[in-house]
């Protein structure tokens, strides 16, 4: 039997006034920890996750260099120097130079701008479009859903390269914008499916049924109730998609459909260096390392975010 002996022993010493009923102290603040909102809680969880947090730090460092790196290097990224061709890393050229004598430190960070922008914008655009599409399909269901999902199926069956080539030909450019359009044109399909699945579940939830019964406009229900409740999942999907876009761009660069010079990207740098990597391994190493670091960081961050944003894990 559990008895607090310590208390019993000293029972007699308790003064009488301790036994007047005071009832519930309405004003007393319960000594609880501060109530934390969803996002602050998520942020706290993320910080707890050392791996994910480290990934975030690496990403911030990368972003710092991507913004300031080209300036730090002291070279213009497109400046050709016939006397400094294929020089290894040195005090003058920290990452060495490429086959036209251009400073790789400047180029790697300049390229990072394109790669990261393609990654982030691509994933965001695809997610927004996909979420809305998936949301609409799930919300209306029935024939609308059927038709919309069939369209997705058709889009997914059309080879992606044809679309990329077509876009670059129609717009007659291989600019960043073109690349983004080309990459996201079918890229949203995956997210649309994901969101639809999630939304179909949400749709049967009481609060959505309630909103429906109250006659709230469908678009409002999608925007106000369904999207916010899938936002965590969407953020995670974006995080996982970003490296995917960076990779796709690298593939397109390899095939020769990448970003147009003088712009460059990590993929373009890596595929340029691939031919001669046994002679100038550093030329391949730096861009490949950046791709790998970015991929790694986003993936680990995505894992962390998934854990942090999952309400099921919130206790």
């Amino acid at each position: 039997m559990m008895v607090n002996h310590d208390v019993t022993d000293r029972m007699e010493n308790i003064p009488d006034e301790k036994f007047t009923i005071i009832g519930i102290d309405k004003d007393a603040e319960a000594p609880t920890r501060p109530r934390v909102g969803y996002w602050r809680d998520a942020w706290r969880r993320l910080k707890e996750n050392k791996v994910a947090f480290a990934a975030l730090i690496i990403l911030l460092i990368l972003v710092f260099f991507i913004i300031f790196g080209p300036a730090i290097s002291g070279y213009e990224f497109e400046q050709i120097d016939a006397d400094a061709i294929n020089k290894g890393p040195s005090a003058e050229h920290w990452f060495g130079t490429d086959d036209l004598g251009r400073d790789l430190f400047a180029r790697v960070w300049q390229a990072g701008r394109v790669s990261i922008i393609i990654g982030i914008l691509g994933a965001v655009i695809a997610s927004v479009v996909g979420s809305i599409y998936g949301g609409i399909a799930a919300y209306f269901g029935g024939a609308v859903d059927d038709i919309m999902m069939r369209i997705v199926e058709v889009l997914l069956s059309i080879p992606y390269l044809i679309i990329v080539i077509l876009i670059s030909v129609i717009t007659d450019s291989k600019s960043l914008g073109t690349m983004l359009v080309a990459l996201t044109l079918t890229g949203w399909c995956g997210i649309a499916r994901l969101v639809r699945g999630q939304m179909l579940q949400l749709k049967s939830q009481e609060y959505v049924l309630a909103a429906n019964a109250l006659g709230v406009a469908p678009i409002k229900i999608i925007l106000k109730h369904m999207i916010p409740n899938t936002i965590g999942m969407i953020i995670v999907a974006i995080t996982f998609d970003i490296p995917g876009y960076i990779f796709s761009e690298a593939f397109l660069s390899y095939v020769g459909l990448g970003i147009q010079p003088p712009s460059t990207s990590w993929g373009a740098l890596a595929s340029a260096a691939q031919q001669n990597f046994m002679f100038y391994p550093y030329q391949l190493m730096f861009p490949a390392l950046m791709i790998a670091l970015t991929m790694l960081s986003f993936t680990l961050l995505g894992d962390g975010l998934r854990d942090a944003l999952d309400p099921k894990l919130r206790k």
């Binding site: 607090n4 308790i14 006034e17 036994f19």
Partner: protein, 338 residues
């Protein structure tokens, strides 16, 4: 009566990112063969954790049963069992039913196989024998045409039927103890009664002791022999069903009782709603956990933990109101009832 289960000073903690949550704090109780003991309390009071601890179903390293705890079932120390012994113990000595029959059955396995699994492990039956036994069990839990139903998948059954299947699984090996964790919460009201009746029927038939975990005092009143009222991981009052319903001494028990609607009551009084929230179990708790929500709170309540006062062999309560210096108060529950 033969003691079938003894739990002493059970302490369970959860390791969370914010720190250690002491979910169960020094819970002790005993269970005799054929007896029904109910754990009552609101969500998060530790009743389910206590129940799961008996089968060691909590997942380390997240949840830890503290070493000072002791669980003895049928003479065996549960906390000292190795993996193999534990597997033999689970399902054979103690069976368990969970709250939500919709999610508690493997969706990709026929119900028959799920019942047979237990039989094959503990009774070492071959497939054929296990199947026959499983059909028997289904018949026992009143499932019509069990020979056909045995090959059904869970999704082909209604909630009530699934819960019957859960009971069949839990009782398949005729365990000494059946732990039913909110067995009726997820079911329709009409089905609830059927399930409870079934459990009681089987209990008598098999002489199984039952631990009934619930927040529904209505269910408890009709089926439990004894009741343990739990609050914030501690047992605040315990007694026979009669003692708790008629002579309860703890303000929390009163609050619980007042929140149950009662047929035949003349009173127009509204149902009582308990204000506030339970204490944060992350924080150290050196006083009465209920103090902040208690209408009869005294300064001492916020300073020290109340000792357990023994009112009878069966009735015990942990409350400063039992102290000789404390004013005598009457239960508002009783007041209303008179």
């Amino acid at each position: 009566m033969e003691k079938i289960l003894e739990v002493e000073n059970l302490n369970v903690s959860f390791n969370t990112y914010a720190g250690e949550v002491k979910a169960v704090r020094g819970v002790s109780f005993e269970l005799s063969r054929g007896e029904t003991l109910a754990f009552v309390g609101e969500s998060g009071c530790g009743k389910t954790v206590t129940a799961k601890s008996i089968l060691r179903l909590l997942k380390p390293p997240f949840a830890v049963i503290k070493p000072e705890s002791k669980i003895v079932c049928n003479g065996k120390d549960v906390l000292k069992m190795n993996k193999k012994e534990l597997c033999e113990f689970r399902g054979d000595e103690v069976g368990m039913i969970f709250q939500d029959p919709m999610t508690s059955l493997n969706p990709t396995m026929t119900v028959g196989k799920q019942i047979m699994e237990s039989l094959m492990i503990h009774k070492k039956l071959d497939k054929k024998a296990a199947r026959e036994e499983a059909i028997k069990m289904l018949k026992l839990v009143n499932i019509p045409s069990p020979e056909k139903r045995i090959d059904n998948y869970p999704h082909e059954m209604s909630g009530g039927m699934r819960q019957r299947v859960m009971i069949a699984i839990a009782l398949a090996c005729n365990p000494n103890v059946l732990i039913a964790d909110e067995p009726t919460t997820a079911l329709d009201v009409t089905i609830q009664a059927q399930i409870m009746d079934l459990m009681m029927e089987l209990k008598t038939e098999m002489n199984t002791a039952i631990i009934l975990v619930t927040h529904d005092l209505g269910v408890v009143a009709n089926f439990a022999d004894r009741i343990q009222v739990m609050y914030a991981g501690e047992v605040v009052e315990r007694g026979t069903t009669k003692e708790i319903f008629n002579e309860s001494k703890h303000p929390y028990t009163w609050a619980l009782l007042r929140s149950v609607p009662r047929l035949g009551s003349e009173s127009k009084e509204e149902l009582y709603a308990l204000g506030g929230t339970p204490p944060d179990l992350l924080l150290p708790l050196n006083h009465c956990p209920f103090a902040d929500r208690c209408e009869y709170c005294m300064p001492i309540c916020k300073e020290r933990k109340p000792p357990e006062t023994v009112l009878s062999d069966t009735h015990k309560v942990s409350c400063w109101l039992m102290h000789e210096k404390a004013p005598k108060v009457e239960s508002f529950y009783d007041r209303r009832d008179k």
